[in-house]
């Protein structure tokens, strides 16, 4: 019904961390940011930022490209889309079920009223 690929685990695990989310949120606003520019707002050292970028990269949420000495980071939307699609399958599951539940209960209600309940 709702296949749960390993990719989703990586996506959601990557999104758990507040620093990584802050990085993604920034990349949402700005298309292509250098690593040093990304690291600036955080009270953590560059190697720690690099580690977060590694996790995001493994999850496929960002891409890194190097030109000269500058590494530019960009958002990569596909895994996020998969995560949303997965949630949407859950929604379809329940939404369709609850429609039938409503129809069934309404039928019962009508029966009871006919009986004067």
């Amino acid at each position: 019904m709702a296949n749960y690929p390993e990719q989703l685990d990586r996506t959601f695990a990557a999104l758990v961390d507040p620093t990584r989310r802050a990085i993604l949120t920034r990349l949402e606003r700005e298309h292509g940011v250098s690593v040093s520019e990304l690291a600036r707002p955080f009270a953590i050292k560059l190697p720690a930022v690099m580690k977060h970028l590694g996790v995001l990269d493994d999850a496929g949420l960002i891409t890194r490209s190097k030109i000269g000495r500058t590494v530019t980071v960009r958002l990569s939307p596909e895994p996020m889309k998969e995560a949303m699609d997965w949630l949407r399958r859950y929604e379809r599951f329940w939404s369709a079920g609850l429609d039938r539940l409503a129809a069934y209960a309404e039928g019962k209600e009508a029966e009871m009223r006919e009986k004067g309940g």
């Binding site: 961390d17 949402e28 329940w94 369709a96 429609d99 409503a102 019962k108």
Partner: protein, 150 residues
């Protein structure tokens, strides 16, 4: 985004809706994502009791979910754990909560399926998760239809 909320207004009194949610007879009539049949519906409706539902989809695939009733307050509230059998589809346990409120036309049903990524959610202790993901979703799926999520 770790949870999904659906609200339905139903022209039936809460006790009838509650029974449709919790009896084998009721469950057999609605459970599942399409019009495929429910093959098995067992419920032991008490706190600590278990339920098990197996259904076949129109594509022929069969699926089973089961869990434990955590709160049973007829006809107002039902909470139960949720897990796919086999674990191949969705690892881990999630939480289903249903609140029923009497309204003039019948019942307002508020359905929530949460802890859909339980392990990560527990580890994170992070309240800002949903909002951040929501913003990102808006970015990625700007044109898609909106749905009720938290």
């Amino acid at each position: 985004m770790t949870s999904l909320t659906i609200v339905r207004r139903i022209r039936a009194r809460p006790s009838l809706v509650f029974d449709a949610l919790t009896t084998s007879e009721g469950i057999a009539r609605w459970w599942g994502p399409d019009d495929g049949p429910v093959l098995l519906a067992e419920t032991d409706l008490r706190v600590g009791g278990r339920y098990r539902v197996r259904f076949r989809m129109l594509d022929g695939s069969e699926h089973e979910s089961s869990g434990e009733y955590l709160e049973v307050v007829r006809p107002e509230r039902l909470a139960m754990s949720w897990r796919w059998a086999g674990g191949e589809e969705d690892p881990g346990e999630s939480l289903v909560e249903i609140n029923l409120r009497a309204i003039a036309e019948g019942t307002e049903l508020i359905f929530t399926h949460s802890r859909l990524h339980d392990e990560e959610t527990r580890r994170s202790h992070e309240a800002g998760w949903n909002g951040a993901l929501y913003k990102l979703e808006r970015h990625f799926l700007a044109s898609s239809e909106h749905r009720e999520t938290q």
